[in-house]
Symmetry: C2
């Protein structure tokens, strides 16, 4: 089980400083959660991940169920031992993939709607590549074509075998183009699944419920009230956050207000540098985001002066580090010139050095915000 202690509450916002105690160490919150979907932070060794000051990781039920299978992971003693991660660990429930590989894939949309779409997901519609029933989700494995069913029971059983410190209830993450009726019906189903997850769970892993409700204020509030009333160890906030990042803070506010004060709140899959202060001010304790690793592999460095695209030739002439105010090993040892050379020469070492820096940068950014909360400055 976990423990959560709030050390200080900001007087200027809803931000709070806390300690999340897990069987694998204490996490200072607010905390960035590194995304280790397939039981690895892409490219890095676990020893390196520790050096990026990452405190906690999130692995994925959907992916690990298919490959290598939870039985293989369990044989190694769970994800911690499998990947040699000594720190705290979460597993996502697979509910996000119900969206990303369903309507998300059909309509080419993510959780944040970047452009206006003509398409609307209405009640009773089904995605092309899966069938969502009242009990769970049927689909064919994209890897080997075998039929897979994941419902609340299956998700919890898989997550129990994976053995993370914190696990999530199975839900349906709805599409940003889903209409009110679809979202409402989906929400009722996710709520039923949430209760089933609580009933099925046999381990003493910390089970977090997930609130949904799309862009609809009444549904968001209804979900937060309902999920918040159940005996979960903590709460995830899932789903879309508007087609405009400015709405995100408002939407988080609708939800956080309804959640119990004394339990941790995890924002699922959100957290670009510009979002981080905002979501923390709304009372978020932990959040996971692929941005630092995803963009690193595409040559983008996050720095205190904003994003740098290291694919740009001009950086070949630039002997400065990525970020003058960063003390990570990439910034201490390598120049922009060298990193751009590596990207131009298609050397993976470039992605490696950027992944390390970006994770270190995100963790440092959040550590800085913790410091500000401590000093009453946020």
């Amino acid at each position: 089980m976990i423990g959560f202690k709030i050390i200080k509450k900001s007087k200027l916002s809803k931000a709070r400083l806390g300690v999340l105690k897990t069987p694998h160490g204490e996490i200072e919150t607010p905390a960035f959660v590194g995304v280790a979907t397939q039981a690895t932070i892409k490219i890095l060794t676990t020893e390196e991940v520790l050096k990026t000051k990452t405190q906690i990781l999130i692995a994925n039920t959907y992916h690990l169920h298919q490959r290598p299978g939870e039985h293989i992971v369990a044989k190694s003693g769970g994800v911690h031992k499998f990947m040699n991660w000594p720190g705290a660990l979460m597993t996502d429930s697979g509910g996000f993939q119900v969206f990303s590989l369903g309507f998300g894939s059909d309509h080419g949309v993510g959780k944040i709607l970047k452009e206006k779409k003509d398409i609307v997901v209405k009640a009773d519609m089904q995605p092309q590549k899966m069938r969502i029933t009242e009990d769970g989700v049927h689909f064919r494995s994209p890897i080997d074509g075998r039929e897979i069913f994941i419902g609340p029971k299956e998700s919890i059983r898989i997550q129990e075998k994976l053995g993370a410190d914190i696990i999530f209830a199975f839900d349906e993450c709805t599409s940003p183009v889903a209409d009110y009726e679809y979202t409402k019906r989906s929400l009722r189903k996710s709520h039923r699944w949430a209760k089933q997850c609580l009933e099925y769970q046999k381990t003493n892993q910390a089970l977090f419920g997930i609130t949904q409700g799309g862009k609809f204020k009444d549904l968001r509030i209804e979900s937060a009230k309902f999920i918040g009333s159940l005996p979960f160890a903590g709460f995830g906030i899932g789903g879309e956050f508007g087609n405009d990042k400015k709405k995100m803070a408002a939407m988080i506010r609708w939800v956080v207000r309804e959640l119990p004060e004394n339990k941790p709140r995890h924002l699922l899959g959100i957290g670009h540098p510009e979002d981080i202060p905002k979501i923390i001010k709304e009372g978020i304790d932990t959040f996971d985001c692929i941005a630092p690793t995803h963009y690193a592999r595409r040559g983008v460095a996050f720095t205190s002066e904003g994003r740098l695209d290291m694919n740009r030739r001009t950086f070949l002439q630039d002997k400065k580090p990525l970020d003058n105010s960063c003390d990570c090993t990439t910034c201490s040892n390598y120049s922009r010139s060298y990193i751009t050379h590596l990207f131009k020469a298609k050397e993976i070492t470039g992605m490696h050095l950027l992944t390390f820096h970006n994770l270190y940068f995100f963790n440092s950014l959040v550590a800085g915000i913790r410091e500000k909360i401590k000093k009453g400055k946020i």
Copy 2:
């Protein structure tokens, strides 16, 4: 400049234990030289390369001339500073690429002829993608199409800008399917170029001459005598080594006999684990080989029990480390099961962990042989 001191000569073979003093530290010989073609050991950071016990690296004139260009590297203070490598460093002259991108590419052959080929390279023949003249090699850059000429003077000038501790004379590495006449004429040209390199060199980098001669005993001996008589700081042995690895030892013997005893001998581009004891027994002091890194990226681990193909599903069930007798961080921290999962899941971290292990394994193997020479057991 470098210094070379022979500490002990084996009584059982031509093996010798030595110390190669360079401006960037002392190398215990025999030594494996890590291949950092584009100024990086593929995937690894320089900090990691140091932990694999790698003492010395070899970067490539042909590749770095094209990308990022020697001027960019020189601006950073040379390859050492560019890639943050504190240890000793060699640059190859580009002569190997005259073969690999010329007749080697035309005929699909490497330095070791793995299968019988009907094709023969005869005198006055030219490869498809370059023109080899008495002065050097003309070709179009595969990267941007611009016309490039590299001759002895150009190679030395580039290598002076790159600033390695040890540089190589420009030569033509002949194809294993070249006939006697082609090889003889090429050899005369390479010999002329070797003298020109000595004349052109202005720095006090250690310049090594390269002996060629293909599979022809008289040409091999002629080349070793001629190149060995010139005031080089050391000697490279280049070119093919027979279509049969058993012939390799004999061919090295023809050459080594003719080279000065007191100068270091580098075998270019050779050194699978099974070859390493043999070439060291023939009196080779240093050798570079892509095997540990190249095969790592394809899932092959070199171990004390031979090669393991980590793409094999059966390893998913195997909780042992890659090599029980290895104390590298990969073997100390990760199972075969996890590494195979990473390869199946197409995660670069798998290549990363294997690259580290393989380099560590090669360096440990050579360290073990040094120990045996010390104890008079080889």
